[in-house]
């Protein structure tokens, strides 16, 4: 099945080799490691780290939403991100970009809700073991389904603004405008969630279910609907992340697993259930990775994230900001 985005992108990109934002003479001779050069290098590493870190953060927040409302850790979170990108690319063939992205978010949110209804609602007092295994199974099945629905090819959405070669200069370093989109989306998501959980009735109801399911039930809150809603919210958020990162990272059917693992590392580093900590932790993991490249061979870059994961688990499982009561739904904001 053809990916179909290539033609669209060329039309949107304009004349080749003519960037929309100044690239100019920056770095054309290659950095030479002078004083000014190393400052801009450091800023560049930081920007790199923030780029990937914000992606990890949004995956971590997705984990937290479901965890705090249902106590389940959804290993399939990474797949929602992947599905967001895939569905958006398919929708792009018919609809303009904003509609495609919105359509993808809604579709994947619905999928998340359906998953919860189909697999989690029917279980009575499931053990942690059961939940883990089910979500792992779901992640595999979703991946394979994506392979057979789409195919193995890599695809991506066009850049929201600019093209593949535009870059914006900040403090001496250069980033693609899409990075600003990612950062903006993540910030909006965090703020939006904060407002939702604190001020919206539905959000407060979700928090209630997280802290004390029995009391919530007594107050007339339908825990089952809240759980479904939390899955839908988390899936939709993941899908949005998948769309906004697609031009940078590309979308392919296997991208979910790696994202899920690193996102989880960020989630437990911050403490499960703690949304703002997830943001900080995600950025921390991203920064650790990119800064490690500066001093170590890049081959060990992934080991940093896995190392953080293992270290946190073994040394301080409740994370930097979580409470010592591991396994209960801890504080949210």
């Amino acid at each position: 099945m053809p990916a179909g985005t290539g033609q669209v992108r060329f039309l949107a990109g304009g004349a080749h080799g003519v960037p929309a934002v100044a690239v100019g003479a920056w770095g054309s001779a290659g950095g030479s490691g002078t004083g000014a050069g190393s400052v801009s290098q450091v800023v560049q590493y930081i920007l790199s780290g923030v780029t990937v870190g914000s992606i990890y953060a949004i995956v971590a927040i997705g984990f937290n939403i479901i965890y705090s409302t249902t106590g389940v850790i959804n290993f399939a979170q990474g797949e929602f991100v992947m599905l967001g990108g895939m569905v958006a690319v398919s929708l792009l063939r018919v609809f303009p970009l904003p509609v495609a992205v919105a359509g993808a978010v809604v579709t994947v949110a619905l999928c998340g809700a359906l998953l919860e209804i189909a697999f989690f609602r029917r279980l009575r007092h499931p053990s942690a073991l059961q939940m883990i295994i089910i979500t792992i199974g779901l992640s595999i099945v979703i991946q394979e389904a994506a392979l057979h629905i789409w195919d193995e090819k890599v695809r991506s959405l066009p850049y929201f603004t600019g093209t593949e070669i535009t870059s914006i200069h900040l403090f001496g370093a250069a980033v693609s405008p899409q990075v600003l989109w990612v950062l903006g989306t993540v910030s909006l998501a965090v703020l939006g969630l904060h407002a939702y959980f604190r001020y919206a009735l539905a959000g407060k109801a979700m928090r209630a279910c997280a802290s004390n399911p029995e009391a919530a039930l007594l107050m007339g809150i339908d825990a089952a609907t809240m759980r479904t809603a939390s899955f839908a919210l988390s899936a939709g958020l993941g899908a949005l992340a998948g769309c906004v990162m697609s031009p940078i990272t590309m979308t392919h059917y296997e991208m979910g697993t790696g994202l899920a693992i690193k996102g989880f590392a960020a989630a437990i580093l911050g403490g499960l259930g703690n949304h703002s900590a997830a943001l900080v932790a995600g950025l921390a993991v991203g920064l650790a990775e990119s800064c490690s490249v500066a001093v170590l061979p890049a081959a060990y870059k992934d080991a940093v994230a896995f190392g953080i994961l293992v270290a946190v688990l073994f040394v301080r499982p409740h994370g930097l900001f979580g409470s010592a009561e591991v396994g209960t739904s801890s504080r949210e904001f």
Binding site: A128, I132, I136, G137, I140, I261, A303, L309
Partner: protein, 379 residues
């Protein structure tokens, strides 16, 4: 399980193994034995994992790493020309003792490498050491954290194997020599050795089965089950839960490593994907399918499903099948499908029988924790 000695059951299974061989010979399909042998080695890992997951109630998403560690250690030691770097006197002495095994490789070069026996022993020791080192902090965690911890461990091992050129990098280690067990019996993949290797593989599987069955019927097994049933209660009763969990974990790691060694010699090589997440998850799926605490199920269904997968029955949907199994089993029959299947069959049997008599009594289900939702009583 009932209290009769496990030896009878194992002997019965041994008869089945022989019968399968004769069947394949009679049907003119002797090449099935190859994949049955490979399936047996993978099933050994599943049995060991069953001990950890079903009896001790701990989850391990990184058991492929132990299989790989066993295989890689054994492969590395038996293919590297270590003898060439030793002084001649030491080399000869070790050769006499049987620690080194000089031979010629496929391209005619002389290689003096470690003998497979010693290599295997070292592999098991390495696996045990790693399991203890990882298990000690990991097993204090619960639920998700343990799962992610073992997953993280598996990922790190995978990356190390992938990134180390001395271990063959992405391509892994190849040209692993045959392992001479006894005169005339060697573990290798060639056609003339097929039948012998079939029995070696299944012999090993049955031996591990017997070992685990004996363990689970003993005091150790009861201690493990008490941990699974309720860790605080077990602690209160004086059971050293931490120690037992760790030992079960280490034992299962050693079993996985042993399977890895044997498999490597059989296949003549090993590669990093054996330590990958997909393989580890597959082992978990097979434990769940066989019945979490059912070692028989682990062996039979584990070997059976692996055999089908190796023969390509599931085509491109291979991963999806195992993922689907995970979901289905855990949602519908968390303690494994065999008991509910048996009781469902019994119900059907009762319904088909004439109204005289009460039919078969329901088998005692044992574990205090409820498993599959009870079937509504029929009138």
């Amino acid at each position: 399980m009932e209290r009769r000695s496990p030896i009878l059951g194992v002997a019965a299974l041994a008869v089945v193994v022989v019968a399968v061989h004769l069947l394949t010979a009679a049907l003119g399909k002797p090449f099935y034995l190859t994949q049955l042998s490979m399936a047996a080695y993978y099933a050994i890992v599943v049995m060991g994992l069953c001990l950890v997951m079903g009896y001790a109630g701990q989850i391990s998403l990184g058991h492929g790493a132990f299989f790989a560690i066993g295989g890689y250690t054994s492969a590395f030691l038996t293919t590297r020309n270590v003898g060439a770097r030793l002084p001649a006197g030491l080399r000869e002495a070790l050769g006499h003792v049987g620690a080194l095994a000089p031979r010629q490789d496929l391209y005619g070069a002389d290689v003096v490498a470690v003998s497979p026996w010693l290599a295997c022993a070292i592999a098991l020791a390495v696996a045990a050491a790693l399991a203890l080192a990882v298990g000690y902090p990991a097993l204090r965690l619960k639920g998700y954290y343990l799962a992610m911890g073992t997953l993280g461990f598996g990922l790190i091992i995978y990356r190390v194997l992938l990134g180390t050129d001395a271990l063959g990098g992405v391509d892994g280690i190849v040209s692993v020599p045959p392992w001479h067990l006894l005169p005339g019996i060697e573990i290798t993949g060639g056609k003339p050795h097929r039948v012998v290797n079939y029995y070696v593989a299944w012999g090993a599987a049955l031996a591990v089965l017997l070992l685990i069955l004996n363990l689970t019927e003993s005091r150790v097994g009861r201690a493990l089950r008490s941990i699974h049933g309720g860790e605080r209660a077990a602690n209160a009763m004086g059971v050293d839960t931490a120690g037992y969990k760790l030992k079960a974990f280490a034992l299962s790691a050693v079993i996985a490593a042993l399977a890895g060694c044997l498999f490597t010699h059989y296949n003549g090589g090993i590669d990093p994907s054996e330590a990958g997440v997909m393989k580890s998850v597959r082992y978990v799926a097979l434990v769940a399918t066989g019945g979490m605490a059912n070692v028989w199920g682990a062996l039979v269904l584990g070997a059976g499903l692996t055999f089908l997968s190796l023969r390509g029955w599931f085509g491109s949907f291979d991963h999806a099948v195992f993922g689907g199994l995970l979901i289905a089993i855990m949602s519908l029959a968390p303690e494994g499908p065999l008991r509910p299947l048996a009781s469902w069959l019994a119900r059907v049997g009762v319904r088909c029988r004439p109204r005289s008599g009460t039919g078969k009594p329901e088998p005692e289900t044992g574990s205090p924790r409820s498993e599959a939702p009870n079937p509504r009583p029929e009138t």
